[in-house]
Symmetry: C2
């Protein structure tokens, strides 16, 4: 088996279109139109004529099509776009509709302007929170390790840090464009080792080779930077954003980048977070920090993407009034309106860190004068490491449709002073593994993220159906439905056997896979559950807790604040609750914990049965890949179930009312 | 400051003896007599005459002195030994007595025949469980990292694995001989990477350079071997001890070693333990495994030191009948009498793993037909990493004086068919740090171990007094007493703020420093505390528990079995006890837990005050070194106190009866 083409199965597509003759009606060429021609001729091996009258499929630019430059229209055999980028999107949309036999009639423009992927790839080839082998950008050509680990120091691999696997990069660019991604950052936001030097020669020249490929797919390349770069690689004595020589240094560095990469996207910055350097150490605020870079980018329309994942990672568990959930709000809300036009705040969807159940981060809806990106995590850091199945689109959609002063999917754009500088961003889950994601079925998440960015009104079911149709065209509708049933419930199943009722953070420290109920309970990371012999949960109410509920619009706040009104699944994120408290489901909290964990395990057992029943119907690689991981998932689910249930049984001394096996 | 000479302060000694003239009365020379001459002339720069009549101090061999070849007698200015080795020991004993002004009158022979040090040094320079910098044997010349970490993979550093710091090795050899050590193994018992090849060319030739130095100090060199070496480096298809070609391979390897190192000591073997290979994988028992090597060593009087630290490290926490404490007994007791004469079982003093409070391993006293070594750990893996003060000699003495069919210090020898093949062994705590041990005061443990091996009747107080006198000759008796008071109580203090009442294993996994109450509770290592809302502890009784108590002599077993008779400090190792149970101290278990933890912290605060009061009286390096670590110890003790107390308060809902601060 070669490298998986994901949904873009070239032989299948070629077969479908083998009788067609393409014609490109462009006034002038750019790197995207050349890519389009190459896609037809080189990738698919189809006919491309220069004689309009011989054509059966026409590709055209029509700048009056829509005010959105990325829009496209498919009308029978005609594919038009407002720009070459629109045509490119239309081209892949045409392929998609053709493969799954939808009517060749569609007008479409993306709803989020920025549709971005962040890589946490490191210059030694490892990937922070990567579960699908090494980086496709960095590392040794031909090598691929499984790099799942708890710490992310970068080892010195010399100066030859680029993998140079351009075939792979082209495949990746194609996949990204086919789902509408238009921006990518290549390296980990924790910028270490030679990663700090990617922005200068001789590394930036190598980055430009990668950026050129992405450019031709309509994707702008960004780099994550180390805030202390002026000191670390510029040899200045300071990185203070108000220091003249610091500003000058950045100006020079950025000017040089644009000489090498004329359409460079900009920087992604994680500053003052989890030990990374930042403006606070110079007594400057984050607006001062970001705006300094923005000024240097201004001549080139470059962007500064500034992460709000700023919290005190030296939290004292003894202080129950401190609340990490409030940190981003408290750090950034006072700065609303203070950021330059080409700065965008990148804000995680939830207030903690991509847990399987978190409420929407209250900055969404509240920030009204600041460009915003909502951040998601495709890589399954807290969601089973692409071992356990977890189709996460339902959870993401619940976030973008959540209304705090308006639905988040709209407020992200509507509250951004420059709507084009807003959108969604997600951490990639791909690596050098042959199927890109470790688990074949984890491709659905990457696909789904792109589709969700483009069309905010697609449902999780629609996206999944589409992906299954494209990916498993050869299998029967019944078999497809079986896989559908597994995947559509998988995020909820993972939640069932994980930390109960949104309390979060009971996993093995650093690795974040598998249970360790007290793994972070007495640690400095501010993620606690406060279980005692009477109850469990974090009191974030205004009345008796940290007051976090007050950060939401009053009607939402009221609901979260109230033990009666709050939904069961959000309960322990907001309240410390007695084990005998009766939930909306009519059961006690403790019984609900037990029931959910037993149910979670039984769901996984059922997945295994279903999967076994389709043996021979999906290709053997996929079958074995998923079967093997389902067995690991069962072990994990059982482990979670046993440890969580035993933990709370030992704590509460309350037996399961159905007498099932809970170890003493 | 150069490298610390430990108690062997050459300028102080030289000053004391500057008017003396040494004379060596030996019939023939060997490497030890040459070393003795060199110690006088090169190390101390003192006078050595060849004219007996000019001598003021005479060194002589008198083989009728004692039946023990290592014995010495000091009589005024005459130092005699049964052998050159005896003279060497007498020489350092003379220096010791001279420095601390004891009468120059002593006849002495060691009580343990083998007095051995194990190093867990790795070929990349790291040390498993090392807290004083890198290995003195391996690693790059001139480099020294702090290598405290949780995992011990060996990185590839090329073929040049030896540090070649012979000055350092000579200092170390001198120190070892001065405290009576006569055997050393150089490398980690988890033998990885190039470590497996130390027993063959070209590495064994480099080992011989180290062995030569130690030989001259009366110390035999051993190597730890990987049981699977025939497969790993011999390229055989098996390592089965009953396979002819495997036996032949070992015979060849061992024969070659003796060509290179004629007085080579033998092998140390960790087999079938914690993932290491061993005879079990070929369906052979440990006697078959060990005897195969013993046969190959037999022509050279080489030894096979076989560790009994064999247990199932895939234990299921769900099964409360499984008990790691029983493992060594169950694996080795049935083999008593089955081992060859040149095999020695190396048995940890306690049944788990060097915890601050464990009962004596019941194999001692029970094994009657097998050569034995009792194993201690000088390196403070579970005792504070040489950050927290922990003078461990009191704990070790309580072990050797514990009687299970006789005092362990005697049964080790008395129950060994070849008494010369018995004794004590300990894991070293030294590394490349300037003061060897990270913490200057941790030298007392190494010194104490050697003295305890030599003279089983010394008390912990005597040993400490001796070490303080030798090490801090310049300070006042009052100041010395202050340091004494701190150190003599430090093992108990550590116990006070650690896991309560011998329950053990509540530390951060892998690192083993700092609290993580549930760190191993649901893990596979078989070290649990089983705390629930009613009580805590491991039921190891025959009546209701794992039956471990039955492994002891009946009177001991009866005492451990009885909740009324058992000492408070051993309680939770043997019983699962309700928090409201009244201990011998008149208090409830839960109150005892609280009290001990508050007391532990207050002891450390007191240590800091005492230490501050001697500022200016000890040298500045020592003062700062210890002061800095005491501050870290306070942080650690407070952390243990807060986490343990909160954990049990949350569990039990029982308040401290003195209303002190326990966090909710």
């Amino acid at each position: 088996m070669g490298v998986d083409e994901m949904w873009l199965n070239s032989s299948k597509i070629k077969d479908t279109l083998k009788d067609e003759v393409f014609y490109c009606n462009f006034d002038e060429e750019d790197s995207i139109t050349l890519r389009l021609r190459s896609e037809i001729v080189n990738w698919l091996g189809l006919k491309l004529t220069t004689k309009q009258e011989l054509a059966t499929i026409k590709l055209e630019i029509d700048n009056k099509l829509d005010k959105n430059l990325e829009a496209y229209r498919i009308k029978g055999q005609q594919i038009r776009g407002t720009s070459s980028k629109g045509v490119l999107y239309g081209f892949y949309a045409y392929l998609r509709r053709k493969l799954i036999k939808l009517p060749l009639e569609e007008t479409s423009a993306p709803q989020q302007a920025l549709r971005m992927i962040n890589h946490w790839d490191q210059v030694d080839g490892t990937i922070e929170r990567g579960y699908a082998g090494e980086s496709i950008f960095f590392g040794r050509f031909g090598s691929n390790d499984n790099t799942d680990k708890g710490s992310f120091e970068v080892k010195d691999i010399g100066t030859d840090i680029f993998r140079n696997d351009f075939t792979r990069l082209e495949m990746y660019g194609r996949f990204l464009a086919s789902i509408g991604i238009n921006a990518i950052s290549l390296n980990n936001v924790n910028v270490r080792g030679l990663g700090t030097s990617l922005i200068v020669s001789p590394y930036i020249e190598k980055v430009s080779e990668i950026a050129k490929i992405f450019s031709s797919f309509g994707i702008k390349t960004f780099l994550a930077v180390n805030w202390a770069a002026p000191k670390l690689i510029g040899k200045l004595s300071s990185s203070d954003p108000l220091e003249r020589e610091v500003r000058l240094w950045w100006t020079k560095v950025i000017s040089h980048i644009y000489q090498v990469i004329p359409d460079f996207g900009g920087f992604v910055v994680k500053a003052d977070s989890e030990g990374e350097p930042g403006p606070y150490q110079y007594g400057r605020n984050h607006a001062e920090g970001a705006n300094m870079l923005a000024e240097a980018f201004q001549p080139y329309q470059g962007l500064v993407i500034w992460r709000t994942f700023v919290y005190n990672s030296q939290t004292d568990w003894r202080n129950r009034k401190s609340d990490r959930a409030k940190a981003a709000y408290e750090n950034f809300m006072p700065l609303d309106g203070k950021f330059a036009e080409n700065v965008i705040l990148q804000i995680k969807f939830g207030p903690i860190d991509f847990g399987v159940r978190e409420p929407l981060m209250p900055l969404f809806g509240a920030l009204k004068k600041t460009n915003q990106l909502m951040e998601f995590q495709i890589t399954a850091e807290y969601l089973g490491h692409q071992i356990d199945l977890n189709y996460s689109v339902p959870q993401w959609l619940s976030m973008i449709h959540f209304s705090n002063y308006g639905q988040a999917k709209d407020t992200v754009r509507d509250n951004s002073p420059v709507p084009n500088n807003s959108g969604f961003v997600a951490i990639s889950n791909v690596g050098m593994d042959e199927n890109w994601c470790g688990n074949k079925l984890a491709q659905a998440n990457f696909y789904g993220f792109g589709r969700m960015c483009w069309d905010n009104n697609l449902s999780a079911e629609q996206i999944l159906d589409e992906w299954l149709n494209l990916t498993f065209t050869e299998i029967s509708a019944i078999t497809q439905k079986k896989i559908f049933t597994i995947l559509i419930s998988s995020n909820r199943t993972y939640e069932l056997y994980n930390a109960p009722l949104s309390v979060g953070s009971m996993m093995v420290p650093h690795y974040h896979y598998g249970p360790a109920i007290n793994g972070y309970e007495y640690d400095r990371w501010g993620a606690y559950h406060f279980a005692d012999c009477n109850g469990v949960g974090v009191d974030r109410t205004v009345a008796t807790g940290t007051g976090y509920t007050s950060l939401y619009e009053s009607s939402i706040a009221k609901k979260f604040e109230s033990l009666e009104e709050i939904a069961d699944e959000d309960l322990l994120f907001f309240h410390h609750v007695n084990y005998r408290h009766i939930l909306h489901n009519g059961k006690t909290l403790i019984q609900t914990i037990y029931d959910q964990h037993f149910e979670g395990v039984s769901c996984v057992k059922n997945y295994i049965e279903v999967w076994q029943s389709i043996r021979g119907e999906v290709d053997e690689d996929t079958y074995n890949n998923v079967a093997e991981r389902l067995n690991l998932q069962l072990y994990n689910a059982q482990n979670w179930c046993d440890q969580v249930n035993t933990y709370f049984y030992r704590m509460s001394d309350i037996s399961d009312n159905q007498g099932r096996q809970i170890y003493k």
